[in-house]
Symmetry: C2
Subunit: 140 residues, 2 copies
Amino acid sequence: MTNYAELLKENGLKATFQRMNILEVLEKNGHMSIDAIYNDITKIHPSLSLATIYKNIILMVEKGVVVEVPISGLKSKYELAKEDHIHLVCTECGDVEDKPCVKETDIVLSTLIKKESFILNKRQINLYGVCKECQNQIAS
Amino acid sequence: MTNYAELLKENGLKATFQRMNILEVLEKNGHMSIDAIYNDITKIHPSLSLATIYKNIILMVEKGVVVEVPISGLKSKYELAKEDHIHLVCTECGDVEDKPCVKETDIVLSTLIKKESFILNKRQINLYGVCKECQNQIAS
DNA sequence: CTGACTGCAAACGTTTTGCACGGTA
DNA sequence: TACCGTGCAAAACGTTTGCAGTCAG
């Protein structure tokens, strides 16, 4: 998916330059905090305002184009909406890596919930630890 | 566990009145945001300051006595540290309910990670949906 | 052309800090 | 008693808002 204009229009949003920029850096970098998005975009387009990023992130989360990833001890990050997956969060560098969701886990969670009177809409699995790069850094 | 004084001392923290109050309301209510804790405690002890709650929550999270529960679209909540479990988050009322962790899920996640060079320290599973009470409210 | 979107700057709420005082061990 | 912890008020920070001008459709 690189057609951000269409993605936006499908969701009832005008395809502005600013929005496409946000989607672009999110796709490039995976998971970003608000100010990481801001810093990245303003390198190239210094006139973009932080307020615009806030307004659009809120809007695109509402429309389901973008998803919030809340993380213990850090500010929330945001990513493009895609199939369910697991987040590996490095507590050293703060980076987040995606892992495809495991089918067994999915099934177990769904059946667990079926016993409850709980309408399940969204899963969110975060695993916290130390990534390979940080392990090497620490070792050396 | 109702011996908060001992719990605090075991973790190198003085057993002050304020800290024991925080632990008490957390045990009573399960999951609370900072200002919910504040509102609850000041009903009975109006002199307790918000700054003290912030300072102590940060401290007790560092010491592992309390755990942060970050939630999409809401401020983080905090709970007493206990065995791993799953959070059912109601997107209508914001309430969080605990479910015991499922052994199969645990195993699947652990083996998934073993393939990676990732040192796993903490799991966090949030399931978002609508709780029974809110379903009834909506139906009526 | 029109309504939606942007940028700016001000307002707001939340979290953090510094310091003098008070309480735990 | 010594030191850590508290409360207060101010400061810092992140986020939201209002408005006048601009742009996508």
